[in-house]
């Protein structure tokens, strides 16, 4: 029979091993980020020059090309998606949080948003392709931003609903007691109080859709130069990175790395800002 002392030592040893393994696991979780960032910087930093930000795609074999068209395309598509998606998402969030109790529509809407949020983004692209691109007979920046909007919408709606619910009831009651109409109470009191969190969620959503590739493959299609209209195909940064990276041309690979570095830095900075100012934890991968 083991002595009590020996058994205790065994337990302590087991504990030390287990704790070390846990710490090792934690290290493993942290490692990939640094590995990826390091590689991005090593491969991409040297290719970020003035050309990168001002030139468009050059033919195969020619040097000096850039990703200006992709950057502008992304800003335009994300901007357009946000222009529609943020108000719409906020409206849904307000609807669910402030009127959710009484409205019959609330349950189905919440369910629908939940489903939309869990849908793989490639399917959003497939939907827009079938519903807009083919009937319109054109790939367009507009359909790309529509796809991005559908991804942004549930994110903004669900997070704003959660945040608005957290606002204590007595604030609403105080507003009403002061004679404000309900809509004013909601907008000027409730939403305004929740605004920092909501804004953080919006920024996270924007960062997420800025990195989306899959839905744009079938909607805005790509363009070696600037799109000439909202109804024309457009390049975007993640899509351009994808196209360049699967190519066998060294010059394009270098630009893919540079583009990846720019994209990741932008997204990380956006995330860092919101995280550091107390933003929400709810986010998903951009594809």
């Amino acid at each position: 029979m083991k002595t009590s002392r020996a058994f205790d030592l065994w337990r302590k040893a087991k504990s030390r091993v287990a704790i070390s393994l846990l710490l090792l696991g934690c290290g493993l979780a942290v490692l990939p980020l640094f590995a990826i960032l390091l590689h991005l910087v090593r491969e991409g930093a040297s290719s970020i020059d003035w050309n990168f930000f001002t030139q468009v795609q050059k033919p195969v074999g020619e040097l000096g090309g850039g990703m200006a068209h992709a950057i502008v395309g992304t800003i335009a598509q994300v901007g357009l998606a946000s222009l529609v998606g943020i108000p719409l998402g906020l409206a849904c969030g307000i609807y669910l949080s402030e009127y959710g109790g009484r409205e019959r529509l609330a349950g189905p809407v919440r369910f629908a948003l939940e489903l939309l949020a869990s849908t793989p983004s490639i399917l959003v692209g497939v939907f827009i392709y079938g519903a807009i691109v083919v009937p319109m007979k054109k790939f367009s920046l507009f359909s790309g931003s529509l796809a991005l909007m559908l991804i942004l919408l549930p994110l903004v709606a669900r997070t704003s609903e959660e945040l608005l619910r957290l606002i204590p009831q007595h604030l609403r009651e105080a507003g009403l007691a002061l004679g404000l109409p309900r809509w004013k109470v909601i907008l000027s009191v409730v939403v305004r109080s929740a605004w920092p969190g909501v804004w953080a969620a919006i920024l996270l959503g924007i960062a997420r859709i800025a990195g989306e590739t899959a839905p744009l493959v079938l909607t805005s299609f790509g363009n070696p130069s600037f799109a000439r209209g909202l109804d024309q195909p457009s390049a975007s940064l993640p899509l351009q990175i994808y196209t360049y990276s699967i190519s066998p041309f060294e010059e394009w690979h270098r630009m893919a790395w540079a583009g990846a570095l720019v994209l990741v830095l932008t997204v990380l900075i956006l995330n860092a800002i919101t995280r550091l100012t107390g933003g929400s934890n709810e986010h998903r991968r951009a594809e």
């Binding site: 800003i75 335009a76 130069s225 699967i246």
Partner: protein, 341 residues
């Protein structure tokens, strides 16, 4: 608030840049083959330089994609190495014209580190490799073709096209001609079920996989192998001679069909007779509607006319063979026959 304002300015500025307000002129949308992409990207860039106000957006998504998008009407012109089948043509509401632009060679590029010779392959061995029957590089049959060379014992990884590809169509057309087993087991077409290997997306993707994977062998257009310094195999042609891929070989392969060229130019020139012929050669086509509205149709017509005259001069530098002169003249007549409404 300043950051917010900056954001708004950026977004509006991009929207403005993206809107048609700042630009005038014609933008053409094209999509399709990856086979001629290096040449087409040069062509479109040069054409744009000499024709102000024209912008051409060509997305290299594969011949299958090009045909599909043309049929759906989302692009103004398509590009494919495989001529459209009768079935596909029937799907189009308006007649489509095939315009052959250049000739190219489908080469077998391989990655065999540590072995420096020029690999020789016969049609039978090649089909068996892609049928998955020959699995190692040091197989006796490969050694027999290469004067008993001591090839490494690495596993062979065939790399094919994962997307619908005209390059695949040309390659499988050749293999089906030289190997009855391949014809019945796999068949020819833009998209077939490969018994073995790995899929890459586009000529670009296949080249990328071959470049990165020791032991890989994949079929790509010549310029992709050259730009990436990949070794290419010599093939035994119909006359029994081992030929390395070259512009002469491709042009020689086309000689045989010149007299019997159909009016719609849909032909196959694989396994052509002739001592110098390279066995896996093919035309590549631009697919355009027979008639269309101005100004786009006029620009397309001008583009095509330029491509078969001035554009031909740029082809050899990028390892594509220009059209034989007699053929080019015929094609020019076809282009002039296109209607602009």
């Amino acid at each position: 608030m300043k950051r917010f304002h900056l954001g708004v300015v950026l977004v509006l500025g991009s929207l403005l840049a993206a809107s048609g307000v700042l630009h005038a002129g014609v933008q053409l949308q094209g999509a399709g083959a990856t086979f001629p992409y290096p040449l087409y990207s040069k062509w479109f860039s040069e054409f744009q330089k000499s024709h102000a106000g024209v912008e051409i957006n060509y997305q290299s998504i594969g011949s299958g994609g090009g045909i599909n998008q043309l049929l759906k009407g989302t692009v103004d012109f398509g590009a494919s190495d495989a001529p459209m089948t009768d079935q596909e043509l029937a799907k189009s509401s308006a007649p489509i014209v095939h315009i052959p632009t250049v000739l190219g060679a489908v080469v077998l590029s391989y990655n065999l580190p540590g072995w420096k010779g020029a690999l020789k392959l016969s049609p039978e061995v090649l089909s068996d490799i892609f049928l998955g029957k020959i699995q190692k590089w040091n197989d006796a049959r490969i050694a027999a073709l290469n004067a008993g060379a001591a090839l490494p014992a690495t596993a062979i990884l065939p790399v094919y096209r994962a997307d619908g590809s005209g390059t695949t169509a040309i390659f499988t057309d050749y293999l089906a001609k030289v190997s009855p087993e391949f014809k019945s087991a796999v068949g020819a077409g833009k998209s077939v079920k490969w018994p073995a290997g790995l899929g890459g997306k586009g000529n670009e993707g296949v080249t990328g996989v071959v470049k990165q994977t020791p032991g890989a062998i994949g079929y790509v257009e010549l310029v992709y192998a050259e730009t990436n310094q990949l070794a290419v195999a010599q093939l035994k042609n119909a006359s029994g001679i081992f030929v390395a891929p070259s512009l002469e070989g491709v042009t020689a392969a086309a000689q045989g069909v010149l007299k019997t060229m159909p009016a719609d130019y849909r032909v196959s020139i694989t396994n052509a007779a002739g001592k110098k012929s390279y066995p896996i050669s093919g035309f590549t086509y631009l697919l355009v509607p027979q008639s269309g509205k101005a100004p786009k149709q006029k620009v397309i017509q001008d583009l095509l006319a330029w491509a078969v005259t001035d554009g031909q001069k740029l082809a050899p530098a990028l390892s594509y063979a220009p059209l034989p002169k007699e053929l080019a003249a015929k094609v020019q007549a076809t282009i002039r026959g296109m209607k602009v409404e």
